[in-house]
């Protein structure tokens, strides 16, 4: 067999190996994704300043409301979007209560809710929030890029969004959240 014929045979072999190589390549990429954290739905806002907003207070709770000016101010905090009609919010609420008792500042955005129902919810399950803004139309939630309640954002002392958690916070999420809170100081 001449050298060029051997060359051609080699190329032919390579051609037939191409499907296998492509499959292994795609498989490797897909496998890379497996080890990643399932709860992470990266927000377009991560790394940016929290959006500008001003919400009226939850009627009957306090007079202050919640606005951009209340965020940052040198201390890291959580911003939690919740509603009384939302079942997963009920699930995560004890964890928020505990975090608040441990000294974590949590600001609440009450999403598309009735004030009396929201107040009843807090009376029943405890009130972990520093301030609560009432977002009756849900527009502020959209400015934050919220998909649905509950969602929790971690802000650093400068009011920059460091992390977003979609869905109810659970015990296992704290392992990740607490060090990040520490780090954001």
């Amino acid at each position: 067999m001449s050298a060029s014929a051997a060359d051609r045979a080699g190329r032919r072999r390579l051609l037939f190996a191409l499907p296998l190589l492509a499959f292994v390549g795609v498989g490797a990429f897909l496998a890379l994704g497996l080890g990643r954290d399932p709860s992470q739905l990266p927000s377009a806002l991560v790394g940016r300043e929290a959006p500008d907003f001003a919400l009226p207070p939850l009627e009957g709770r306090d007079e202050h409301g919640l606005s951009r000016a209340d965020l940052g101010g040198g201390r890291p905090m959580l911003v939690n979007f919740w509603a009384s009609w939302c079942v997963p919010c009920r699930v995560e609420h004890p964890i928020l209560d505990r975090l608040a008792r441990d000294g974590v500042t949590i600001q609440g955005v009450n999403h598309k809710d009735m004030p009396d129902k929201a107040r009843a919810f807090l009376e029943e399950l405890g009130d972990p929030y520093d301030l609560v803004g009432s977002d009756r139309q849900g527009r502020v939630s959209i400015d934050w890029g919220v998909y649905g309640v509950p969602e929790t954002y971690l802000l650093d002392g400068q009011g920059r969004i460091r992390y977003r958690h979609v869905g109810p916070l659970q015990e296992r999420d704290l392992k990740k959240l607490l060090p990040m809170l520490e780090e954001a100081r």
Binding site: K112, G138, R139, G145, G148
Partner: protein, 160 residues
């Protein structure tokens, strides 16, 4: 076929008021503007659904986004401004047509590359097959004479 979508929807928005997709009270009075709103809505993803546009979805968030699209159109914004407004909040995830940028080059140009590569392989293959087909056209003069002789002989044998 939207089993998954429905299941996902059920998981995501456990409560939340049930609304139909685009309800009559959402529609704009100006038919031309409404048509633009519909067309744009079909380009935007209902974020909590699976690959459903906000025009098709009865999710709460989809309704909010439909209303925002219409408000902004009424305020005189154009399609690209509204898309920019939404991507600022939700990222490229909200666009059903992924924008062409380095991260999506393989997606957008991949099919063309595959077609070109496959086409090139086909051309090589067709050439090889054709070379096998080269039929005895270039017969030399003496070969032709011999062929004629053979045919003539054969003709004698088979004719009655």
């Amino acid at each position: 076929m939207r089993r998954l979508a429905m299941l996902l929807l059920a998981l995501f928005l456990v409560a939340g008021p049930a609304l139909g997709a685009l309800s009559p009270d959402e529609e704009l009075a100006d038919p031309a503007l409404e048509a633009r709103a519909r067309a744009l809505s079909k380009e935007l993803r209902c974020l909590v659904c699976q690959n459903q546009s906000i025009d098709d979805s009865d999710a709460d968030l989809a309704r909010d986004l439909r209303l925002i699209v219409r408000e902004r159109l009424l305020a005189g914004e154009d399609e690209s401004q509204i898309k920019a407004y939404l991507t600022e909040r939700y990222g490229d995830f909200v666009l059903l047509t992924p924008p062409v940028r380095p991260a999506t080059w393989a997606l957008w140009f991949g099919p063309l590359l595959l077609l070109a590569g496959g086409g090139a392989l086909c051309v090589v293959f067709l050439r090889r097959r054709r070379t096998g087909l080269v039929e005895p056209e270039p017969l030399g003069p003496d070969e032709q004479a011999r062929l004629r002789a053979l045919l003539a002989e054969r003709g004698k044998e088979t004719s009655p």
